[in-house]
C-alpha cells in the first residue's frame, strides 16, 4: 500500500489544455473518488496515474517513487475498466492469474491467490468459464478479482459500474466499499455519478472542464460547496439557485428575490446592502409551513412513497422542494415555504464562488 501524490499535474494535446495543474494528496489506504460530468478530465487523470497517458507537466508519485516515466506494469497498480476488459480467450482463473503468470510467479502460489480472491468474490464455481459465458455482474467481479490477485499498492477504477443495470450497480457499490474496508488498499475511483461518489468515497474530488473544483469529504462538499458548480453537481435532487439582492440594516440581513420576496441571511456573512448574489438552497431545506415567508405555485408533484418532491415556481424560477413522507399539495396550489438562514448558501453571481 502506498500514498499517491500529484503535483501540478497537467495534460495538454498541443495547445489544448485538458487538465490544468492538479494538486492532490491521496493518503495511504484512502478511497478517493474523482467525479464530474463527461469530458471533465477525470478519466484522463486516472489514466495518467496508471501510466496509460503521458504527463505533459508536473509530477506523480506513488509511495515515495516518482512514476512519471515508469511503465504501467512497473507502477504496481491494478485497474478495473468500465468495459471489464477481460481477456476473451482465457478462462476466469487464467484471467485472474495472468499478471502473476507474466511475472513468472510459481504456479502453486498463483492458484492459492486466485483461489483466495475467488472465495472473497464468490467466483469459485466460475473459474473454468470463459468471459463470454458470464453475466455483466460476474464479469465485473472477475475484473475486480484480477485486480485483487495482484495485491497492488493502488487500485484504479474507471467507471466500473456504468455498464451494469441500476439494481446491480447499487449492490456492487456496497460490495466494492466492503472490499475496500477489508483490504484497505489505496483506491482512486472515477465516476460521473454523484451518488456513487457520495456513498463510496472517503474524499471526493469534483472536476469540471479539466479543473479541480473542490476536494473534500462527501458531507463537507454537500454542506459547504465552494462554488455553484459543486453545489449543483453534488446532491440529488440538485440545489435550487435564485438570483437575489442583499438588503442589510442594523437588525437584519435578507436576500431579496426578483419578485420582492425575501430570505433570511446570516448576519456574519460579508455582504453589504445592494450586493447581487446567487442564493443556493437545497430542496430539503425548503419547508412547507403555513406561516412561511415565501409563497410559490406548485407545478409538478412527484410522490416517491418514502418522500415527496414537488416543483414550484418561486420568483419566476422553477425550484424543487423535498419533503419526507407525504404532503397534500397538487399542481396549481400555492404553498407557503420557509427556510432557515443557516441553510442558505450565497454565491457570487459573476464568479460562482461561495461567499462565506
Amino acid at each position: 500500500m502506498a500514498s499517491v501524490s500529484l503535483e501540478k499535474v497537467q495534460k495538454n494535446y498541443g495547445t489544448l489544455n485538458v487538465l490544468e495543474a492538479v494538486d492532490l494528496e491521496i493518503a495511504d489506504g484512502e478511497f478517493v473518488v474523482l467525479v464530474g460530468p463527461s469530458g471533465c478530465g477525470k478519466s484522463t487523470l486516472l489514466r495518467m496515474i496508471a501510466g496509460l497517458e503521458e504527463i505533459s507537466a508536473g509530477e506523480i508519485r506513488i509511495g515515495e517513487r516518482v512514476v512519471n516515466d515508469v511503465a504501467p506494469k512497473d507502477r504496481d497498480i491494478a485497474m478495473v475498466f468500465q468495459s471489464y476488459a477481460l481477456y476473451p480467450h482465457m478462462d476466469v482463473a487464467a484471467n485472474m492469474g495472468f499478471s502473476l503468470a507474466l511475472r513468472k510467479t510459481d504456479k502453486q502460489a498463483i492458484d492459492t491467490r486466485v483461489g483466495g480472491a475467488a472465495d472473497r468474490l464468490g467466483l469459485n464455481k466460475l473459474l473454468a468459464r470463459l468471459p463470454r459465458q458470464l453475466s455483466g455482474g460476474q464479469r465485473q467481479r472477475v475484473a475486480m478479482g484480477r485486480a485483487i490477485v495482484r495485491d497492488p499498492k493502488v487500485f484504479l477504477f474507471d467507471e466500473p459500474l456504468s455498464n451494469l443495470d441500476a439494481k446491480l450497480r447499487v449492490h456492487m457499490r456496497t460490495e466494492i466499499k466492503a472490499l475496500h474496508q477489508q483490504l484497505k488498499t489505496t483506491s482512486v475511483y472515477v465516476t460521473h455519478d454523484q451518488t456513487e461518489a457520495m456513498t463510496m468515497a472517503d474524499r471526493i474530488v469534483v472536476m469540471h472542464d479539466g479543473v479541480v473544483q473542490q476536494v473534500g469529504a462527501p458531507l463537507e462538499l454537500y454542506d459547504h460547496p465552494s462554488n455553484t458548480f459543486v453545489a449543483g453537481f453534488i446532491g440529488s435532487p440538485g440545489m435550487n439557485f435564485l438570483p437575489a439582492t442583499i438588503k442589510r440594516s442594523a437588525d437584519f440581513v435578507a436576500a431579496i428575490l426578483a419578485d420582492g420576496q425575501k430570505l433570511p441571511v446570516l448576519a456574519s456573512l460579508p455582504v453589504s446592502e445592494g450586493d447581487k448574489v446567487t442564493v443556493g438552497l437545497r430542496p430539503e431545506h425548503l419547508h412547507v409551513a403555513g406561516d412561511g415567508d415565501m409563497s410559490a405555485e406548485v407545478e409538478v408533484v412527484e410522490p416517491l412513497g418514502l418522500s415527496t418532491q414537488f416543483y414550484a415556481r418561486l420568483a419566476g424560477q422553477q425550484i424543487c422542494v423535498f419533503v419526507m413522507g407525504r404532503v397534500a399539495v397538487k399542481p396549481g396550489d400555492t404553498v407557503r415555504l420557509s427556510a432557515t438562514a443557516s441553510d442558505l448558501h450565497l454565491f457570487d453571481p459573476e464568479t460562482g464562488q461561495r461567499i462565506n
Binding site: 501510466g51 504501467p72 506494469k73 485497474m79 475498466f81 477481460l86 507474466l102
Partner: protein, 279 residues
C-alpha cells in the same frame, strides 16, 4: 433474427438468388473437372455430358503425371503461396496495428500511402520489377515471386486489418499493459487472436490471386525448377495443337490445394464477413 427476415417466401427468394449465383459460379469449374475425365473426342463432341463407360478416360492425368515435373510445380506453387501469405499476414497485421494503435505524426497519410497499392495494379511496374530482380540476381528464384506477391498483397491486408484492429477495445490493450504485456505480446497474444476472422478473410483474398497468377511466374521465374502449376499447365497449350485432356487435368489438380486451404480458413472467413452484422 427478426420474424420478417425468416418468413417463407423471403427465404425461398433469397435461396433462389443464392442458388442461381452458385450455379453460375460453379459452372466453368464443373465443366473443367468433368471434361478432365473424358477422352479427347468426347470433350469436343458433347462437352456438357458426364463421362460414361465409353468416354471415361484418364489420359489427361496420365499425361500430366508423365510429362513435366508436376509434383515439383505443385511444390513451387505451394511454397510461393504459403510463404507470401505468411509475410502478407505478418507484416500487414503489424503495420495495421501500428496505424490503428499509435498516434504519431502523419498517421493518416501513412495509412493512405499504404492503402494506395489497392488502386494501382502491380503489373504496371513489371519492367522495373524485372530489372530489379535481374540486378539483384533473383531471376528464376521463388524468392522473387514471394517478394512480389508480398508487396502485392500488403495494401489490402493493411487496409482491412487496420479497420478491424480499431475495433479491439482500448481497455483490453491497456489491461494488458498494466498486467505487464509488452507491446509485441499485446499484438501477438491479445490483438491477433481477436482479429483472427479478419486474418482469414485477408488470407483467402490474398491466396487465390497468387495461386492463379501466370504473369509473374512467366516473367520472373520461368525455369523448369521454379515453374508454378499455372505456368506448368501452359506447356500443353501449343500454338497449333492444344492437349485439352492434359490442360483440363492440370487445372483440376490445381484447384485441390486452394480448396483445402480455403476449407481451412472458411469457418473463420464466414465469421470475418459477418462480424459486426451478427452478435
Amino acid at each position: 433474427m427478426s420474424k420478417a427476415a425468416t418468413s417463407l417466401p423471403r427465404t425461398i427468394g433469397a435461396h433462389a438468388v443464392l442458388l442461381t449465383y452458385t450455379l453460375i459460379a460453379l459452372f466453368p469449374v464443373v465443366v473443367i473437372v468433368v471434361n478432365s475425365f473424358k477422352s479427347r473426342n468426347a470433350i469436343f463432341r458433347s462437352p456438357l455430358s458426364l463421362p460414361t463407360a465409353e468416354t471415361f478416360d484418364l489420359i489427361g492425368y496420365k499425361t500430366v503425371m508423365a510429362q513435366g515435373d508436376f509434383i515439383q510445380y505443385f511444390q513451387n506453387s505451394l511454397t510461393v503461396t504459403v510463404a507470401s501469405l505468411f509475410f502478407v499476414l505478418l507484416f500487414g497485421a503489424m503495420a495495421a496495428f501500428a496505424l490503428s494503435e499509435y498516434r504519431f505524426k502523419g498517421n493518416t497519410m501513412m495509412g493512405l500511402y499504404l492503402a494506395l497499392g489497392i488502386m494501382i495494379p502491380i503489373r504496371l511496374g513489371t519492367v522495373a520489377i524485372l530489372q530489379l530482380m535481374v540486378a539483384s540476381g533473383l531471376v528464376n528464384t521463388l524468392t522473387a515471386l514471394v517478394l512480389v506477391y508480398t508487396a502485392q498483397g500488403l495494401p489490402l491486408a493493411v487496409f482491412i486489418l487496420s479497420e478491424f484492429m480499431k475495433q479491439v477495445s482500448d481497455d483490453l490493450k491497456n489491461a494488458g499493459r498494466i498486467d505487464g504485456l509488452s507491446e509485441y505480446r499485446i499484438f501477438f497474444r491479445l490483438v491477433l487472436p481477436l482479429v483472427r476472422p479478419a486474418m482469414a478473410t485477408v488470407a483467402v483474398f490474398t491466396m487465390i490471386p497468387i495461386w492463379n497468377d501466370l504473369w509473374f511466374p512467366l516473367i520472373l521465374a520461368p525455369s523448369e525448377a521454379t515453374k508454378t502449376v499455372t505456368l506448368g499447365a501452359q506447356v500443353f497449350i501449343g500454338q497449333f495443337v492444344t492437349n485439352w485432356n492434359a490442360v483440363l487435368a492440370a487445372l483440376s489438380l490445381a484447384i485441390l490445394p486452394v480448396l483445402i486451404l480455403y476449407f481451412f480458413f472458411s469457418r473463420q472467413l464466414i465469421r470475418g464477413i459477418t462480424s459486426g452484422a451478427v452478435k
